[in-house]
Structures are given as C-alpha cells and as structure tokens.
C-alpha cells in the first residue's frame, strides 16, 4: 500500500496522537489504583490531608486569640486591640474554611452553635455585664450551674467580635471595663476549649471521627458504605454553597438591603468569611490544604467525566474570584455594589447546582461499595 505525503503525515500525526493520548490517559486516570481503591483514598485523604491539619491549625489560632485577648485585657492599648482583632480575623479564616465540611461532631455535638450562633443578644449581653455574676468560662458553659446556663447567643465568635469592634467598629481600647475584660477572656477561653475539643473529636482518644469516616461499614452508625461517606463530603459542599448564597449573602441583600443582618457586622469581615467558606469547600473538593494535596473528589470524578471535573473547578474559581470584584465591605456593597453581589450569588448558585445535579448522581452511578 502506497501512501501519498499527506496521508503519511496524517498517519504519523495520528500515531503520535495516539501515543500522546495513551500516555496522557495513563497519567490522568491514575492507573496505579482501581476505582474502589481510589474511593478509599479519597476518603482517607480528606481526613488526613484536609480535616486533621485544618483542625490542628484552627486550634493553634484559637490559642493565639486567647493569648491576644488576655494581653489586651492586661494592657489595653490600641496596638493590643489591633492584635486581638487580627487574631480574631485569623482564627475566623480557619473556622470559615472548616465550614466547607460541616460533617460529624461539629454538627451533631453542636460545636457549630457553640462557636457561631447568630445574632448577638444585646439585651442579654448588657444585662450580664451590668450584673454581679462572675463571668467565667464555667458560667458561660453552664458547668457551675447547668440549670442556669447562658444561651448560646452569649457565647462564641460574635459576642467577642462585638466586644472588640463595637457597633460601627469604633471601639476604643481604653474604654474596656473590668466586666468587659472578664467577659472577653471567658469568651476567648470558651472558643479555644471548643476548638480544641472539636480537633480532638477527630483524633484517637475520644470519638475518633477521622477513623469513623475512613471505615464505613454496616455497623458504622454514621457511614454504612464508602458511597455514603463520599456523598456526605459532596453534600457538605452543597450545604456551604447554599448557606453562603441563599442565606448569609441573600438575607442582608434581598429584597431590601439591611447591613445589620450581615454575618460579621461589627468587624466588617463578612466578605472574608464568605470567601473562606468557598475556599474551604474547594480545599475539600481538591483535597488540598496548606500546599499538601491528596486523592480527591476531583480525581474521582475525572476518572469517568473529565469535563465535569473541569466544570466544577472552573466554577469554584469563578465563585472565589468574584469576591475580588468588591471594592468595599459587604455591608456597604449590598447598598452600593449590588451588581457585584448578584454576580457572586449567581456564581455560587451555578456551582451549587452543578454539584447537586451532577456530582451526587455521579457518586450514585459509579460508587458501588
């Protein structure tokens, strides 16, 4: 058989393409492990690469916040107030990123409401501050008098935010009263105690939820199968997209803007909160945290549907990058940059829809054990 020059060129191109595609296929499809092995690796790496390291860093930053608040109390200078505020913002980054996977003890053991109940109860705070009750962490948690434990609206990040910034963000370091200092220290201690307990609940010693996730079985009360564990991870992504889009951002924005309904109204940290929520979700999707990566939902999806994986990654990027389009605080943007708010809401809705309508069905179709 004689081939003309064009045909020869095409054959060579086709062969080289085949070789190229084959090698690409081999690399991308992770032929070093079977699909069921990959499922296991995705769950294990979610625990080891994302959850454990994140909770560990979270606890360190909560400890830093406690120290910063103590220093502010001991020496109430503008500089120490700035330090305490920064420590609060730093620990919020990890908390918001951890909301990318509200799975396990943070949910069913109530660490979420312990740390992040909203709104703050001004009347109750003022009543507490003007009373003679010693404000200790034992008092806040009801350890010394369970029947008269405070409501969760008096605990967590937002009352401390109110203390550090005040209404309008104009708190002056020199104006803290002894009672307010007492309250701030109790709040920061309570936050640290909860974050420490949350971290430990995933480790050997107590609940060991990390191992619970890694070992699905019919006798596992949380996850009967790997499919359920993977669905839980994917559902957590949907939950946080919905919470940010349909709740945290929409409520202050629509139908009438009201900045007092925003998540962190005293510190004006809301945009950072939202962005970190979605970064946290992307970290889960990519199994990535602080430069380390592992087998991920992304890899699992790419195995059978490369375009879906690309679509999700692109939508994560669009949603996260949309937060950079704001040139002001969220509390201002709902009045003055409404188009930008809508752009972000649309991006989040699109991302959430794709995960809900394509990722969950993908898991149900391909994960059999």
């Amino acid at each position: 058989m004689k081939l003309n020059k064009f045909a020869k060129t095409m054959v060579i191109a086709a062969m080289s393409g085949t070789i190229f595609l084959s090698s690409c296929d081999k690399t991308d499809k992770q032929k070093d492990m079977s699909f069921p092995e990959m499922e296991t690796a995705v769950i294990n790496d979610f625990v080891d690469v994302v959850a454990h390291p994140l909770y560990s860093k979270f606890e360190i930053l909560a400890q830093n916040l406690k120290v910063a608040v103590q220093e502010l109390s001991d020496n109430p200078t503008a500089s120490n107030l700035d330090n305490a505020r920064q420590a609060w913002k730093d620990v919020r980054v990890l908390w918001e990123q951890s909301e990318g996977f509200l799975i396990g003890p943070v949910d069913y053991l109530n660490y979420d409401p312990y740390l992040d109940t909203w709104p703050t109860d001004y009347q109750a705070m003022e009543a507490l501050l003007s009373s003679n009750t010693p404000i200790t962490v034992e008092y806040l948690t009801g350890l010394d008098d369970p029947e008269n434990a405070t409501e969760l609206t008096l605990r967590g990040f937002h009352p401390l935010e109110y203390m550090l910034w005040g209404l309008g963000g104009n708190r002056d370091a020199t104006t803290f009263t002894a009672r307010e200092k007492e309250y701030m220290i109790a709040l920061a201690t309570d936050i640290h105690n909860n974050v420490k307990a949350l971290k430990e609940s995933w480790l050997p010693g107590t609940i060991n939820f990390g191992e619970v996730m890694k070992n699905p079985s019919v006798t596992n009360e949380h996850f009967h199968s790997k499919k359920e564990a993977l669905e839980a991870i994917a559902n957590a992504l949907i939950t946080i997209c919905d919470e940010v889009g349909a709740d945290k951002m929409s409520v202050p924005y629509d139908p009438v803007p009201d900045s007092t309904l925003s998540e962190s109204p005293y510190s004006h940290n809301s945009l950072a909160d939202f962005k970190n929520n979605i970064i946290g979700a992307r970290n889960v999707y990519l199994s990535s945290f602080e430069g380390k990566t592992g087998k991920s939902l992304s890899v699992l999806i790419k195995e059978n549907n490369r375009s879906l994986d690309n679509e999700i990654k692109a939508k994560f990027d669009v949603a996260i990058n949309s937060f950079d389009g704001f040139s002001t605080t969220f509390e201002d943007a709902i009045y003055n940059q409404r188009n930008q708010v809508q752009t972000t809401l649309d991006a989040l809705a699109s991302l959430q829809s794709t995960i809900g309508t394509k990722v969950i069905p993908y898991i149900q179709q391909y994960v059999k054990d």
Binding site: L109, D121, Y122, A127, L128, S131, E221
Partner: protein, 459 residues
C-alpha cells in the same frame, strides 16, 4: 329536541351511576414501590439530612417560600428589643425550632439546657371554655422553664430515672428507665392539684401528608378497631382550632392535641419560644410578673409564620431501606401477626390538595392511625387533654424511626418523653391496649425479635 336528548342522556347516565362513580385509579398493592413512604413526597436519603429535605418538584416560588421557612425554623431569637429576631420569651423553653427538632427530628430529653427538647404541659382539674385543659393560675397550660435576663422562669423541671429489668424467656434482659418529674423553684406557689405531662418534640417531616389524611379515614380506623373487638379501641381527639374558632379532629402533638400544622407551629412559637404571631398575638406571660409590657406584638409577621408552616408542610419523608432483605420481610410479617399494625396502620391515602400535587392523593406508609389509645399505667401522665385521658397517647407515625440515630446520634430517643433509648425499649414499654402485642413480642425467639427490630429500622 336535541336539548331534550342531551338531558335525557345525562339523566340516564346519572341513573345508572356512571357519572357518580369515581374512577378508581389505585393500583394493585403489589404495583406500589414499598420504599415510597411518603408517596411522591419521598426522598431517597439515609444520612444526617434525611429528615430535612424539601419535597421534589416544587415551583421556584414554592421553593423560595420553603427556604424562607427553613431559615425561620433554624433562626435563633433574642431578647427584645433587638434589631432583628427579638421577642424571645420573656419566658420560654428554647430559642429556636431547630434546638428541639434537631435535623428536623427530635431533641434531647432534658429540660433547661440549650438543646433540651422536653416541654411540660400543666393544668388543674376542670375544662377551659373550649373543653381543653384548664390552665394553672399564673402558669397557664405550659410551663416555661427559662427566662430572659431579669425575669424568672416559671419553675424548673427535675428529671430522675429509676432502672428496672425486663427479661425474655431466653434469659436476655433489657434495662428500662422510668422517669420521675418534679418541679422546683416555682416563681409563685403552685396549687397542690396541678397535673403535668412531659413531652419530647417529635420529628416534623411528613406533616403535610398527615394533615391530608381525611377525617373519614381516621374515623374508619376507630370503627374497624371497635368492630374487631381485640382490645384495641382507638378514639379520635377533637381539639380547639384558634384559626377557625371551632373544634377539629386532632392530628399533631403527642395526644393529638393540635388540629393543624398552623396551630402546631404558631403554638410552638408562642408557648415554646414566647414569640407572638397574628394567631397568638398576646404574650405568653401576659398577666404574670414576667410580662415585658413592650408594644411589639405580634413579634413575627403573618408571612413569616406562614412560611414556617409551609416549610414543615413540604418536608419530604425518607424512603424505606432494605425492603428485600429476608429478615426485614420476616419482621414485617411478624409486625402484622403481633397486631402492631392494628394501631400502627401501615398504609393510608391522603386527600386532595390542589396546591401541592406531591402530597395530594398519595399512598403513604406512616404506620399510624392518628387515634388515641390507652397505653396503660406505665406510660400514663395522668393529665387529660381534650378527649385524651391521662393514659391516652396518639399512635405516632413510625416512618423514619430507623434513621433517628443517623440524623442525630445524640438524639435518638423514643416514646412521648424520650425515656426509651432503643426501639426495643420502646416496645417493652407498651401496655394497655398494646399489652397483648408486647407480650406476644416478648414470646418471640431471639431471631424473630431481631427481625421485628430490623423491620422497624428499615422504616
């Protein structure tokens, strides 16, 4: 002449019954998918979110309202005056719906804590003007055991448990815990003849379907039980409906003491949280020393109340699981043989709702007759509630019972006050009209008992 012919045709059709007869669209029983506990309002979820899913296929507007109601259901309320969500109390049991219905399921059987799911009904002998329980002067018909700063709770509820051992003939033993409830630190003296009923909030999903079971269906259950004459003799409750100012058949509440989702939700806002609404616009502490005197009522708008009602109405029922497992099938057969299904009636047909096709005319598997039954002295609270006596309890729906542990591992408790920690304990508490069923269950061998429990866990 043509007109006359048409009238004649209609007349003859009517006479022969063709126009009057409803078209029977029911399938043969074997044609139904047994997994569809809620008919078209079923969701295939068995994880921690199994009780919190919106029924599928709602319009965008209905989905939006469901979402608004969802936010209200999980919203924490705070002390008034407040920029948002003020109006808590001044006396209350908890700060949000979700704290007592965790994951849209149950709460924890404790009182006074942030996640306590118990509430205490109280009354004195006699009837109010509508035939309901007579409130205790200065306390009303529900005890609020918490108060905002500066106010006094009406009283505190103390709970203690005493263990007792129940043994099967094969030697297996189960520990039951019998609760005792006492009130302490009342803000004023309680009369000596007060009666109390401690109750744990039930799961809220599927309420839209239960609300649509025709009254005639519920009454037919009572008539059938009476005719069977096997010791099971359920009666319907008839309770006051504030919305229509009339007595209506009771469907919700542990003694069927609420006629509708609207009354259930508005009543919970009012009594459990101290939040006034257009249906109950007067503060629950009005006339008591805890009254705040603020002119802020109603504290939630009609639209917020109705969105919350719509949210509850449109929560889907989780599908059954493992229905082809031989042990589950065996357990289902035994469930019927033990006559459990006389009260926990497996199937029902909902009536028509022209707004929501998903809950309209659905074949559901709620496992309830919505009737009151005398459950014996072991479970009695001694406090009548409309037609319910002190030992009557409504047959609870069993759908989703096998998922309680998964929805919230810390809140899987059973029976009206959460005294049972397992489904098996709950069965062993059955007395009164269910005494024979309990005894028959106890006579089963180990494998058969396991099969019954496995079946219940498949619901």
């Amino acid at each position: 002449m043509k007109k006359l012919a048409i009238f004649g045709l209609i007349g003859s059709l009517t006479f022969t019954g063709i126009l009057c007869k409803k078209v029977n669209v029911d399938f043969d029983e074997t044609q139904y998918d047994a997994r569809l506990s809620g008919g078209a309002a079923t969701v295939f979820l068995s994880n921690s979110q199994a009780f919190g899913s919106m029924i599928e296929g709602l319009s965008p507007w209905d989905s939006y309202i469901h979402g608004v109601g969802d936010k209200m259901f999980s919203q924490t309320f705070v002390t008034a005056p407040a920029p948002h969500f003020g109006g808590l109390g001044t006396i209350y049991n908890n700060v949000s719906c979700i704290r007592c219905h965790m994951g849209d399921g149950k709460g924890i059987p404790t009182a006074g804590s942030f996640n306590s799911g118990l509430l205490t009904k109280i009354s004195v002998p006699g009837l109010d003007e509508n035939g309901g329980p007579l409130g205790v002067p200065g306390f009303g018909t529900q005890l609020q055991d918490k108060a905002v700063n500066g106010k006094s709770p009406e009283a505190k509820v103390k709970i203690t448990y005493q263990d007792s051992l129940v043994s099967y003939s094969d030697g297996t033993a189960v520990i039951l815990r019998k609760p005792s409830y006492t009130l302490s630190n009342p803000y004023q003296t309680l009369p000596s003849d007060y009666m109390m009923s401690v109750r744990l909030g039930p799961p809220v999903f599927g309420a839209g379907l239960l609300e649509l079971i025709p009254e005639t269906t519920i009454l037919s259950y009572a008539n059938a039980q009476k005719a069977e004459d096997k010791g099971v003799k359920g009666i319907p409750n008839y309770v006051w409906d504030e919305a229509t100012k009339a007595l209506k058949i009771g469907r919700f509440g542990l003694k069927a003491n609420n006629p509708s989702i609207l009354m259930q939700v508005a009543g919970a806002f009012h009594q459990d949280m101290g939040i006034t609404s257009p249906l109950f616009p007067v503060d629950n502490a009005y006339g008591q020393m805890q009254y705040d005197g603020l002119k802020d009522d109603p504290e939630i708008t009609d639209s917020m109340l109705m969105a919350t009602v719509f949210y509850v109405r449109t929560l889907a029922v989780p599908a059954r699981r493992d229905i082809e497992d031989p042990q589950v099938i065996k357990g289902e057969q035994l469930f019927k043989q033990l006559n459990c299904s006389s009260c926990h009636i497996p199937q029902a047909k909902t009536g028509v709702d022209v707004r929501l096709a998903q809950i309209s005319n659905q074949r559901i598997q709620a496992f309830t007759d919505l009737l009151l039954h005398d459950m014996g002295p072991g479970l009695a609270d001694g406090r009548p509630d409309y037609r319910a006596s002190g030992s009557h309890w409504k047959t609870p729906a069993l759908w989703g019972i096998g998922l309680l542990q998964r929805v919230n591992p810390t809140a899987a408790f059973y029976l009206h006050d959460g005294r049972a920690r397992t489904i098996e304990e709950a069965i062993l508490w059955h007395g009164g009209e269910a005494e024979n069923s309990r005894k028959a269950f106890m006579k089963l061998n180990t494998n058969d008992r396991k099969a019954v429990l496995r079946f219940l866990n498949s619901l």
